[in-house]
């Protein structure tokens, strides 16, 4: 994990999240470099989604700093409300259990994602009611962006279908397309391969590589080790809210602490019986 590039895109420093007496994330530090796919892995309950919720503003961290820096500026994510993180800091996310606007069409889902681009300020919003202020042009551009991502996620044929009527795999892809429509700098994916069949997982890997190639960095939580090892540039391993390993896929794969966390062997804190689960 030699940091050869200048400043990292996201640097997490001493992130701690407590829920009452429960320490969900404990003194976690890691960095995500620009143009990388950074995976956060770990056993169930390790605190991965909590980290995501802190980064995307759904939780306010108990302690620690979350610094994001890109061409648009430097942002202290721990102090920003969720919608501003998405809007200004350009961090987009998907959810572990798909959260689409089920009663709206696929295209409408993608246009809602471009809300801020379509209505940059109150004045333009008011003018748009009367069809003034270049609204038509902005809408055409938004539909084109939507069309681009529908094409990329192979959903163009279903643009006018309600999102709730799509099969599960397509809903997962739509959620990624919707997040990409906010033109993010960092895309946070919470278990995007969950519930996908092997072929769909392969397609997902291709899609994520394509997104990275287009200049968007990715932060990924995933249990499907096939996907993680294939596409990640950098892996952070969590267990019980602490970082236990950090490095390239090869380094992590051979790290005895990671093997111990997953298989429950050789860990001083745990009795071996727990490995049977």
């Amino acid at each position: 994990m030699a940091s050869s590039t200048p400043a990292p895109l996201l640097s997490v420093e001493d992130l701690t999240m407590r829920f009452g007496g429960l320490m969900a994330v404990n003194q976690l530090s890691f960095t995500a470099r620009r143009g990388d796919i950074t995976a956060v892995i770990g056993p169930n309950g390790a605190g991965k989604t909590t980290v995501f919720n802190c980064i995307t503003g759904f939780y306010r961290p108990s302690e620690g700093r979350l610094a994001l820096s890109h061409a648009g500026g430097d942002f202290a994510l721990e102090d920003m409300p969720g919608h501003r993180i998405a809007r200004r800091a350009k961090v987009a996310r998907t959810f572990q259990n798909v959260r689409l606007f089920a009663g709206m069409t696929v295209l409408e889902n993608l246009l809602v994602a471009q809300h801020n681009a379509l209505m940059p300020n109150v004045r333009s919003g008011l003018l748009a009611v009367f069809g003034l202020g270049h609204y038509r042009g902005r809408e055409r551009a938004a539909v084109d962006t939507a069309r681009f991502w529908l094409n990329a996620t192979d959903l163009l044929a279903r643009a006018d279908d309600p999102a709730g009527a799509l099969p599960y795999g397509a809903q997962r892809r739509l959620e990624i397309a919707r997040a990409m429509c906010t033109s993010p700098v960092l895309l946070c994916l919470d278990e995007p391969a969950a519930g996908l069949n092997p072929r769909e997982s392969d397609e997902l890997s291709i899609l994520l590589r394509k997104i990275r190639a287009d200049g968007c960095s990715i932060l990924l939580i995933e249990h499907d080790m096939g996907v993680v090892m294939r596409i990640s540039d950098h892996i952070v391993v969590l267990d019980h809210g602490k970082k236990i390993s950090d490095g390239t896929p090869d380094q992590v794969r051979n790290d005895p602490r990671v093997i111990a966390a997953y298989l429950g062997e050789g860990d001083e804190d745990e009795i071996p019986v727990e490995a049977a689960q």
């Binding site: 295209l107 809602v112 994602a113 809300h115 748009a128 163009l156 006018d160 309600p162």
Partner: protein, 445 residues
Amino acid sequence: MSAVPGAARAAPISAARPTPARSPVAVALRDAFLSALVALGLFGAMIGLKTDAGDSALYLTPRPRLVAIAVAIVFVGRLAMVGWRIWRPAGTPSPRRLAATLAHTGRYVAPVLLVAAVTLPLYAGRYWLDLGVLVLTYVMLGWGLNIVVGLAGLLDLGYVAFYAVGAYSYALLAQNFGLGFWSALPLAGLFAACWGIMLGFPVLRLRGDYLAIVTLAFGEIIRVVILNWTSLTGGPNGMSGIPRPTLFGLTFTAGGGQGSFADFFGIEPSLTQRAIYLYYVILGLALLTNWVTLRLRRLPLGRAWEALREDEVACRSLGINVTITKLTAFAMGAMFGGFAGAFFATRDAFISPESFTFIESATVLAIVVLGGLGSQLGVALAALVMIGGGEMFRDFAEYRMLIFGAALVVMMVMRPRGLVSGRTPSVSLGTAHEIPPELIAEGHG
């Protein structure tokens, strides 16, 4: 792997129910018999026993024949219903096909209704005009509330508060500052919108039932304040002498006279002219509400409202300011409520707190729910049926509410998501299809 538990669960259920052995006739008879039994239990006391006041005491008169008739009706009705379900002839339209046909013809219903509404004063008498004004007031209220409940999915049980704010705003502005209807109208809407935002702030974090309770309380607070602030609002005596609307300065009075509409055009003065004018004013206001709503639905703000109804968390993750979005929905709905209130004040020339009770909120909400959340046409139809229909049944006196209640129950059984329950997409690449109601979220605050 995941299919195994499901299969295991399904097996004992089918084993426990030996339905194939029983004939459909027996099933239908048994069902009808049980229904009749329930009816007997219910009606036995309710209809079967009547109290008569005698010389010095109450006498109980049993009415077994009436009970028998009621129970027989239930038995036969249930038998017919179950029978229909079992022996429905092939090719009969199922409720879903029926809904599709309804949606198809729905395209022509709206223009026909609009033409009928615009031309109503040409062929209708005074009674129908007044009824039309009443119905249109509720159509407008329904459309206003539809923004909050139907689009943004925020259950508001205190909508009448904004109606009251609008009405009292106009009355007070007219009384204290001598403003006319048209100059006070925007201000009334603005004040109501401000109150909408004031209500919006404390309830931002509330959802579902809690939101409903707080909005209900808000509606009552406004009414109680109006009732008790006697020095300003006249309290229970209300406010009278509210000026009538004018047409570019021309008044509508029974006597005609200088500066009146009749005088200007040299025609016989009559109160019907005022009724027609009021009718067109409310028609215009209602259509304005409709136009703004339809327009906003196709704009980012309207889409954000609907997205909020579908999933608030996802909205936040997409950079939508949920607070602002909710407040605009409250403000926009309240503004149209305020317009309707100002119109109400000028229509009756008299307002009192009695006109702004909870039953008004409930009626408007019922119109929105019956019409179908988010559907403009549905809300208009529901207002027509509920308010217009309610007037029609006035002759039935005490049976009116009974018929009304029964109609509501039947309606909700047949079409649980309202008259027009589908959703038309706001934008499409090819051809837009109606979105079935099962997929549409009802919103939970």
